[in-house]
Amino acid sequence: MREVAVIGVGLTKFGELWDKSFRQLIAEAGSKAILDAKIEGKDINALYIGSMSSGRFVDQEHIGALVAEVSGFSQLHIPATRVEGACASGGLAVREGYLSIASGINDIVVVGGVEKMNDVGGSEATEILATASDQEWEAFFGATFPGIYAMIATRHMHEYGTTKEQLAQVAVKNHANGAFNPYAQYQSPISLESVIRATTVAYPLGLLDCSPVSDGAASLVLCAAEKAKKYTDKPIKIIGSGQASDTLALHGRRDICTLDATVYAAKMAYKQANLTPKDIDFAEVHDCFTIGEICAIEDLGFVEKGKGGKAIDNKITTLDGSLPVNTSGGLKAKGHPVGATGVAQIVELTMQLRGDAGKRQVKDGKIGLAHNVGGSGATCVIHILEAM
Amino acid sequence: MEQIGVVSYGAHIPRYRIKAEVIAAVWGKDGQAISRGLGIFEKSVPSVDQDTATISVEAIRAALKRCTLNPSDIGAIYVGSESHPYAVKPTGTIVGEAIGATPDLMVADYEFACKAGTAAIQTCLGFVKADMIDYGVAIGADTSQAAPGDALEYSASAGGAAFIIGKNNVIATINHTLSYTTDTPDFWRRAEMKYPSHGGRFTGEPAYFKHITNCATNLMTKAQTKPQDYTYAIFHQPNGKFPVNVAKKLGFTMDQVKQGLLVPYIGNTYSGASMIGLASVLDVAKPGDRIFMTSYGSGAGSDGFDMTVTNNITRLSREKAPSVAQLVADKEYVDYGTYAKMTNLLFWE
């Protein structure tokens, strides 16, 4: 198996981008990554695009070929594939690109992730996101997507004494980080009180416990590590990749508070990288809701199960803590254009490992981990990156 | 003599209530005077996820919990209501499926204003008597509608009761039944109209009182009984006054009437009204008790029943489902705004 490196990254601003279309977003992120990698169209062996629900958000399926076309590659006839795994679509696209190079089939692959969520109304966006849950046995009965994560939170509070304040602190921390990220949807800090007092969406989660509805795109250029130095001085190696699945419905799982898909995907990635959780210097985790980040740091093995809330209290995961989490602002503050998220996480790790993260740059970060979840934990994909 | 009659029974009343005075306040009326005049203090309100089908299912499931009958032995289901959720698509099919009685089953929906449920009892009785089925289910249930501000708004409520009719383990034998029917337009709802219309005071003497009195008198003549022969008497109860007045006129006492009189606390449940009254009586009835019931449906007609409670009632697990008294007591009040939302008064699209 060949080693794979990231040689280029590209990101659009995340947010309510009323003047940008789905096509413009992905073309912008893609061309930024291609220019960053200093490659040309003819160097690209394949495209992998992650998008959760372009069909319902912008009435457009068949977006693999569309992305190739809007990126200016229609005359190159590049193989282009769309990858879907709900909110993990982006991370899965990264993994597909990674596997295609590691297998020896491709040398250079462009990975993209995109979602244009604000072209539908708010309640329709909620309905579309609920398709990531079990439509027949959860959503049909009135469970919303925030409601499903809220049920994880209620159980976590019951079993481990996690508090609403600890959940809120996740949002406060991620907004503080987002303030240093020029691409973030929210670039201003928020107070603990404002999170706790925010209007309830699904008890115990309030509006500021939830990631926003966002437009945005992200892109990467992946390259066989042996050829990476030809394009960049600072290639970032993917040293571990893991993926796992679980039941679509939360109620079908072994334990309500544990995302087993995270546990298994992490095990796979750690094993490949020959690392333990202690070796990770910083991480981007899937905080679509504040409780998501608490479960993530537990399930990734950073802290013991049930101690996630305490870890937040002890400021372990802040920018200057021992394990900074979501330096980009996370899904919470950076924004969560669903299909783009998993790709954007790798963009953030790459910027950090290159030392290009500006005011949010972590100190001595050598190894970073990205954790991307689909649905309430039915899909999880994890990547571990290291500077070469 | 072969015993045919009620094998088991169950009732359902939605949990929400609105007080008559709360409705009166919205329209600038004197609530206490209205309550006194109608003999109704509060009425049940269905939540947005309840309709005649769900109430019917809850009522028959309660009846099945009380006995050991296998639902596949049920040969017929007739659901009487003036608020079937579909104009075309039988409520009875939903009920049959929900209790596991399908597919070898006769089903039809009935409409005869407030007496459609008792008409269903007569149908089942006939089928059992003719040996065409072993058990039949008769249900009367409604989520009745009243136009905002109409006099009916103080009474139109929701609830229902179900009776399994058969000839084995009969808890109350139906000794006699008959009906009294004429063409009397006292109350109606035209097709595709949301709310009913009524003839005001015409609904009283020539309608309710004439039909119930004649039906009751004819029944006692046929059964060779007098009011004093009955432990309990149940009359259709569109308000708290009519059933008490008609009972007195016929020679019944309040002691005989009160167990089956629920309208002051739950309002008029239309097809469910006399049926819930009967369920309430069966909640407390003892072997040997004799029950007299006369329903009334606008349009107009009355169905009369003469019943005798048997020893089997002591073997029915009545405690396995909530009694009518428990259903009446388990309540939560709503304000007019919530009531309007729940009963779809605020519909727009």
């Binding site: 409601g147 209620t154 969406v201 008890y203 419905a249 109620h251 | 769900t54 596991g100």
Partner: protein, 138 residues
Amino acid sequence: MKEGVARFWREIPQRYNFMGNKCGTCERVFFPPRESCPYCRRKSIGNMKEIKLTGKGEVVTYTIIHVGPDDFEEQTPYPIAIIKLEEGPQITAQIVDCPLDEVKIGMKVESTFRKIQQDGHTGAIYYGYKFHKCYNNK
């Protein structure tokens, strides 16, 4: 009217009557029924037996939905819970007829038959299970 009715009609045995199934090898019960047992896999194929569940259980976790889908908007705020059924499977359903502050983990509940959704004002009505506190707390 926007939905095809068949996909809802197909689920009637589950949604009205809790028809689940049981692995003939390990005796684990599934709801909704599964084609095969995820624990016994090939040993369970052709050995899954249909069973009717009681519809009684206990609240494992819950939420109160304040921002609901369009079909549920007029019911907000409403509780949704994961319920562990007596026979073992867990399901997601709405809790009704219960003051919001009384919904608790560990609460014993039983099923009630309710309208779940309807396809607008002209389409079909879809019925199914919701849960309420057990009658007499049993």
